[in-house]
Assembly symmetry: C2
DNA sequence: TTTTATTGATTGACGAGTCAATAAAAAACC
DNA sequence: GGTTTTTTATTGACTCGTCAATCAATAAAA
């Protein structure tokens, strides 16, 4: 039972955060959506924080899976870098629940050590992937990877928070930057 | 009395957010730090949300002032672009209170319309300033400004959330990107 | 005497986490 | 195979804290 319940709770958490647009959702709401009592949610997770962390890990795992499949299809180094960009701006990254969770991750990373660890994990992985892709293309792959990684995060922020920028435009900007970074031909 | 009290409350709010490292600060805490009762805080501001919004506006105003003075000292277009970068990574932007406030701004922008407006205002201003600085230097100043703006935000995020990146490194990366964007010489 | 400034005390709502009690399944025993 | 015992799953009801917001009362100016 335990794994089933935990999984249902994680899914319900993401759905609920997405619907509410904020992390201010009660354990009772989550539990109700998952079809159980709040007491049971506490029983299996121990506390709200841990439910939320599990949800975060779930989202990060999903993103990682997307990256892996995108990379598998890429043959050239440049295609690998492009695949990393595309994964970051994939539709699933712009699901309202994912956006909210992501923003909350940022907001909490300043105080909550475990959350900070998660965020850094994501950043390090992205950086590592980018550096690996850029190594054959650039003499300063490390610095370039740092730049591209930050650019991706910044673009995501703008696209996610609904300003003028759309996900498509953000993706295009990132590709343009990549083109500028490593010499010319597409 | 009213303007004095309001100002004291805004300052106390920022200080308290900085000390707590989160937006989870009670009106009573803020009021105590400002040397008055929570009832008075409510009396002058009407509610917690409005106190926070006032604090956000205060921070944004401070940032804007920093930008203005930095720009005034810049003579060439390139110096203007560099001044904009430096203002973004100035020490005051990394005050714990400022960091927390920014993160909260992002987290709330998804739901809270007034907060969203504030964020967009900041983004538009930065974009406008960058575009103006880049216009004599680039044939695609608009797209370049969009890229630099997003890059700045992304770098700030990484520097603020304490990963490996420091504020200095972030600044250097942004300068490097600027150099790459507009042809070579420093 | 009216207006402005100020607060202590209170209210009302909400929500995390606990607990004792029940139902259901599994295991142990004869 | 059937009965008892133990373990697992589940919940309703409750406790305990917290906190935003209100209000009636008081002090101080104007």
């Amino acid at each position: 039972m335990e794994p089933i319940r935990r999984d249902a709770l994680v899914r319900a958490t993401i759905a609920e955060i997405g619907a509410a647009g904020t992390l201010d959702v009660t354990v009772s709401q989550i539990a109700r959506r998952a079809g159980m009592s709040s007491a049971l949610a506490h029983h299996y997770f121990g506390g709200k924080d841990q439910i939320f962390l599990a949800a975060m890990r779930h989202i990060l795992r999903g993103f990682r899976a997307e990256v892996v499949t995108a990379l598998r299809a890429a043959q050239t180094p440049r295609a690998r870098a492009e695949a990393l960009i595309d994964a970051s701006f994939a539709a699933s990254s712009f699901d309202p629940a994912t956006i909210s969770a992501w923003m909350t991750l940022y907001a909490q990373a300043a105080t909550h050590p475990e959350t900070n660890r998660l965020l850094r994990l994501y950043q390090l992985r992205l950086h590592g992937n980018l550096r690996h892709a850029l190594r054959p293309l650039s003499t300063s792959s490390d610095a370039d990877a740092a730049m591209l990684g930050a650019l991706i995060d910044g673009l995501y922020l703008r696209a996610a928070l609904g300003g003028g920028t759309t996900a498509q435009a953000a993706r295009a900007t990132a590709h343009r930057a990549l083109g500028q970074l490593i010499g010319g031909q597409s």
